[in-house]
């Protein structure tokens, strides 16, 4: 079994984000970056499959040399090898372009399963898994919270607003990871040292051009201060006069 995971370098969720000078992006200077948390679930799931089923694992990302930091972490967690689709300004790419990169790498690698996060926390489009599955003509399971591997197929649990579902899909399949799928491990020192010996293959892909882009980026307004009220009467008064919801 061959499993491919895609990860994206995103700003740390704990980082303080400011807009860039042109107001169309975030200021990327002095911001710590991490593997997109949902993609990290995908990495963990692939490593577990390697340990339990002997799966061959490959991690893919897109960007410049800076992205090797996240690829190395995935390798340190236990993924066998990495592929970096070179791009100097990957954060300007739209989801279709990133999706196309994954599709191109998948055509080369022919994985039985592609696992990736249900969304990336920096753009929230939820679109990569469906895009990739459609383009590759793979089965698709989104928002998986539990995966079980049978011969040549996968059984997945997913939570919906109506209740829990159990799906079964034959390989090849694209799975998007939801929170709860697993608890990603921290890389250990041995893994970190071993990752040094693993390869990061760099490839170039001609990406299609699209005519849409982000027009403006505005960070959320700062939270207002907390006001402590003495009693219920004051609360009701505040809700009527200040917040005006009563």
């Amino acid at each position: 079994m061959k499993v491919m995971v895609f990860i994206k370098r995103v700003p740390d969720t704990a980082a303080i984000i400011k807009p860039s000078s042109d107001g169309k992006d975030i200021n990327r200077e002095n911001v710590p970056f991490i593997i997109n948390p949902y993609d990290e679930f995908a990495v963990e799931e692939a490593v577990k499959l390697k340990e339990s089923k002997g799966a061959e694992t490959v991690v893919v990302s897109i960007g410049g040399d800076e992205v090797k930091e996240q690829l190395r972490r995935a390798l340190a967690m236990g993924i066998d090898r990495a592929i970096l689709v070179k791009h100097s300004e990957f954060w300007k790419l739209n989801p279709s372009q990133i999706g196309e990169s994954i599709v191109e790498v998948a055509k080369r690698e022919n994985p039985d399963m592609i696992i990736l996060g249900k969304l990336t926390i920096d753009d929230y489009t939820y679109s990569l898994a469906p895009y990739v599955a459609y383009k590759l003509n793979y089965n698709l399971i989104t928002y998986a919270t539990k995966l079980e591997y049978l011969d040549g197929k996968v059984k997945a649990e997913r939570e919906t607003d109506l209740g829990n579902e159990v799906w079964e899909a034959e390989f090849p399949v694209v799975v998007s990871a939801e929170r709860g799928l697993n608890e990603p491990r921290l890389p250990n020192m041995r893994g970190i040292m071993m990752a040094k010996r693993k390869t990061i293959e760099e490839i170039e892909i001609n990406l299609p051009q699209y005519t849409y882009s982000i027009e403006t980026f505005t960070p959320p307004p700062p939270r207002k201060g907390v006001k402590i009220l003495e009693n219920v009467d004051e609360l009701i008064k505040a809700l009527k006069e200040e917040v005006k919801v009563l």
Binding site: E69, R72, R73, A76, L186, P187, N188, M189, R190, I192, M193, A195, K196
Partner: protein, 386 residues
């Protein structure tokens, strides 16, 4: 990071940086939220031993053929610093396993002893401890009373060892005792050997998240194959202490960083006289002094790592670093506690716990005073020990 003012960590290579970052995540997630409670309860987190082993913390510099990582002393230093950022007791556990158990077996043990003990010590299946200090013999280890009498197939060991980290949970104790000719030898005393017992010291007001015990030997038969063949004389145990003291010099930097950061954060949010206390000159002076002292301690630790890794460090270099950095950490922690005011005395904060721990750290592995005399002897050529 505010406390790394001279950007020393920029010298780390990519893997070393990853090791540091991963350890920070580990400490933040697995230790910091609970350490105050463990400390108050006087409880060492046994469940972490397996995780330490998985992280690779129990055989950092040991050769790969025994399951070690064969990494540099610099990495060992970084590990000590990041662990002691959380608590000196946690770092002590890792120091003992690496420097006081694995190191002597690797350095003074037979191939058979190495094969038998080292892989299990690295995987955390076995815990070790180191017995040199005695109830009546601390700074003057040559005065030890524990003795070993040759008998058929081994030795009969009698005596007691005191202040032994991990003593009650150890599967193997590296014990130093005098033979009939008064020569100090190393013995690997295993849990379950007849006549060997331990007693945990429960009333410590320092290093409460660490196990400290007395080891008692009452006619304990130690077979010849458990005697370290290449250790003879006091130099052998002292060489182990040099390794452990090196880790302490780095660990103390971690303590100092932790209490400094706590003081900075607190001073910026605590309001007095209508403004954050960080805006007062007396607080700023304290913080400036703390940062300066931490920077000095870091420089000492970093240079010592270079000397250790290139084989140029003597025990005297290590003495200076242990002496200076632990004293620095105490002074930084004390000022941090003062900046936190009454809150500083609570276990919800870290400074007072570090301060209480550091009182023991300043005494163990060579007291401040003994290291002073080691340096005094180096400077003057005159020994002032006796």
């Amino acid at each position: 990071m505010l406390a790394d003012f001279y950007l020393l960590d920029d010298e780390l290579n990519e893997e070393e940086r990853q090791i540091r970052d991963t350890l920070r995540e580990f400490v933040k997630k697995e230790i910091l939220p609970h350490i105050g409670d463990w400390w108050l309860q006087g409880k060492f987190p046994m469940h972490l031993i397996k995780k330490f082993a998985e992280m690779g913390l129990l055989g950092i510099t040991a050769p790969e053929e025994y399951g070690g990582l064969n990494l540099s002393k610099r990495v060992y230093g970084i590990v000590a610093r990041e662990l002691e950022y959380a608590d000196s007791g946690i770092r002590s556990f890792v120091s003992v396993q690496n420097s006081l158990v694995i190191y002597p077996i690797l350095t003074y043990g037979s191939d058979e002893q190495k094969r038998r003990f080292i892989p299990k010590l690295i995987s955390g299946e076995m815990i070790g401890c180191f017995g040199l200090t005695e109830p009546d013999s601390g700074s003057d280890p040559a005065s030890m009373k524990t003795h070993a009498k040759k008998t058929k197939g081994g030795y009969i060991l009698n005596g007691a060892k005191m202040w032994i980290t991990n003593g009650s949970i150890a599967d193997v104790a590296v014990v130093w005792a005098k033979d009939e000719n008064g020569i100090i030898k190393g013995f690997l005393v295993e849990k379950g050997f007849e006549g060997f017992s331990t007693q945990e010291l429960k009333t410590k007001i320092s290093l409460r998240a660490s196990i400290t015990s007395e080891l008692i030997f009452n006619d304990v038969f130690v077979p010849d194959e458990n005697v370290l063949p290449y250790a003879e004389g006091l130099k052998a145990p002292l060489s182990c202490l040099t390794q452990a003291r090196y880790g302490i010099a780095w660990g103390a930097v971690g303590c100092a960083m932790a209490t400094f950061e706590e003081a900075v954060n607190y001073s910026k949010t605590r309001i007095a006289f209508g403004k954050p206390i960080a805006s007062f000159q007396l607080i700023q002076e304290k913080l400036a002094d703390m940062l300066t002292e931490i920077t000095e301690a870091q420089l000492v630790a970093w240079r010592l790592a270079e000397l250790m890794d290139s084989g140029r460090a003597s025990f005297r270099h290590v003495s200076l670093a242990k002496r200076n950095n632990v004293r620095t950490a105490i002074e930084v922690a004390r000022r941090a506690r003062a900046i936190l005011g009454a809150n500083g005395t609570l276990a919800e904060y870290h400074s007072m716990r570090h301060l209480a721990n550091l009182e023991a750290v300043e005494t163990y592995e060579g007291t401040y005073e003994i290291h002073t005399l080691i340096l005094g002897e180096y400077i003057t050529g005159i020994e002032a020990f006796r």
